[in-house]
Symmetry: C3
Subunit: 277 residues, 3 copies
């Protein structure tokens, strides 16, 4: 299917990373994050440092109703279980019903038959944004992957065609994150560079990035939201790296940097390049 | 109802913040914390740094029995679900049966009908201490609030009358926390000032404060316990702020400060002022 | 029973701590950690900093299948509940079926009848490695303990005989951790010293150590794996201590140190001493 996503994205303005960050801080969008146990604290701290308002509300008794109030919803299957999947589906339904953007992070979906089935079910609900590492995106598109656990074993560039195919099939913006990040809506393609080699050694930074993409999708169109989140991560990561001596010091310096980066710091950045697909 | 709480509070000595901190460190009270997934790590680290002994024991199969062994119990509904609520109720029953103090933190109870019903059910069990931000306390007392998610959108002073009404109705000490904190048992009122503007940008510090109030309630009367916890947070927060460059550096400096503050540092503090209600 | 464990341990090479660390970093073993909510983030960060690949996969729908792919499994009952215990048992069965080593951490098993029954059930499945503090090991062996919550109240040396008895009965390597650590397979005994007095004030470092023992058991025999994990913790803890001012600064410096310690740093270390049992 090539039909556009039913999410609210297309009605949002297309903002530069700098303007998107200013808009995020001006409105502190309430972002409902259904994420994994490992990520909850760092994801909430990431959104708070960036200027958004996270709410970790997951249970099916309230996740759908709350999604109707939130300005974005993010779904991450890292530590899924049946009760949580029920809550995820209710939140997706609640978001979709009112045109609220939602983001899917299919963590290590190839790691078990159960996880794979859940990821495909959620993907079929057409997320506004889909984020994964190269191994996750390749496997979702039906390709082979060298990966085992939660870490990517394939280069980002190897997943470009898979990302475009998924974007067109599900009407989603697809982000493949790694040393350099690739974003596409199936037509346009952006590459974002920056960050720090310490980032993969800090658990759940990728999951936190997924939540931040949701927060940005509350203030700008999906492709621009994804690029803005990646650009902010790239800039804050590079700044934090300069003064870090390991993954422990990087983690808190990264939160400091997320809070300190201004929209001006992202103006005219050379971190983003746009290409034909 | 104006009946006093059935909890053990009234039989505890009324200690100054300095003496309460000395008593806490002398006995390292075992404090059962049923809190949310986001808060668990920072709450445990907060209690350890302050000198208490946290135990995160939540499931209904053991929460009630363990509450009979703990010296205080704290309940936080941040990431509630039905199985956890069962565990909370069993722990409250276990604590109440032996006169052990317990603290309720009704996080964002206005965010859904489910959450609201649970919060009111737990409140009806008459917590020794009730802690919330201004929006949470206003809404519990039946007032209007401007809040959406987990963050307060109302000033602390706006919730003073609501706090007193709740204190009298449920026989609880009520704390309204914010830039300045208000504590009342319905008769006396204390205001506590200090802390840092970074505190709202570090997730779950409020939840951690709830747990610390429980730990102090194991060694001093409820009103004094609440004031002692707030005073320690205010002092440690101000110290950590002086050397922090953002929410990331503040978080670990705050834990260092919690461990470094001595009872003498709280002696004759001007952080607390007492008023008529 | 004196029968050897059925786990793969005996077929692994017996490596020194230095060689074990080199082997760990060379292969980044995929380690399935079913641990408690408090520990998840710091445990994952500990394994990443050390050089392993953690995967927090717990639910019964996939934990057994994933255990067949992982190179080690670790089980920690800190925040157990019935659904999680089902996932633990499936993971143990999955690991045992293919000879993958697994580690048991029976956190505070004496704290309730429910917890005690679960711990004994899991222990009867004959873990490759059993780790506890002195109070936990004493109580598992049927002795008396002064402990209440999750913290030890007995000295490590008091648990030496209990550790040897458990090692012989269950065919496990048993580690008793504290200011000085004791490890035994029922025949040989090693003592490991180092670390920092801040370690007990950082929540879940012991749980993280359990996960790290699993990662090392993927590359060396169980007794040597346990000693290697303890030696790395002792060395990194001592390094982090030298520059820390409290539990907050210690926590991130410890992660930096875990990543910075090289195999050479562990060569000829005097942290380990071997004795007759």
């Amino acid at each position: 299917m090539d039909a556009p996503s039913s999410a609210s994205g297309p009605t949002q303005p297309r903002l530069s990373p700098a303007d998107a960050l200013a808009a995020l801080r001006a409105s502190a969008p309430l972002t409902q994050c259904i994420t994994n146990y490992v990520a909850m604290q760092i994801a909430a701290n990431t959104l708070l440092a960036a200027g958004a308002a996270p709410a970790m509300i997951h249970t099916v008794e309230e996740s759908g109703a709350f999604a109707g109030l939130a300005r974005a919803v993010t779904i991450n299957i890292g530590t899924l279980s049946p009760a949580w999947v029920d809550g995820m589906k209710a939140a997706i339904d609640g978001a979709t019903a009112v045109g609220t953007p939602w983001v899917l992070d299919p963590v290590a979906h190839y790691a078990s038959a159960y996880r794979s089935a859940v990821a495909r079910d959620l993907l079929s609900r057409r997320p506004t944004i889909l984020r994964g590492n190269a191994s996750e995106i390749l496997a979702l598109a039906g390709g082979n992957t060298a990966a085992r656990g939660v870490d990517a074993a394939d280069p980002v560039t190897a997943a470009g065609a898979a990302a475009s195919a998924l974007a067109r099939e599900y009407g989603s913006v697809v982000a493949v994150t790694g040393a350099v990040d690739l974003v596409t809506d199936g037509t346009r393609v952006a590459m974002v560079s920056g960050g720090s080699p310490w980032m993969p050694q800090v658990t759940a930074l990728g999951c936190s990035l997924t939540c931040l993409m949701g927060a940005f999708a509350a203030v700008t169109a999906p492709l621009e939201a994804t690029v803005a989140a990646l650009t902010l991560f790239a800039e804050a990561g590079a700044r934090a790296h300069a003064h870090s001596e390991g993954p422990g010091s990087f983690a808190w310096r990264f939160l400091d940097a997320l809070a300190a980066v201004t929209p001006d710091d992202l103006t005219g950045t050379e971190r983003v390049s746009w290409n034909a697909p």
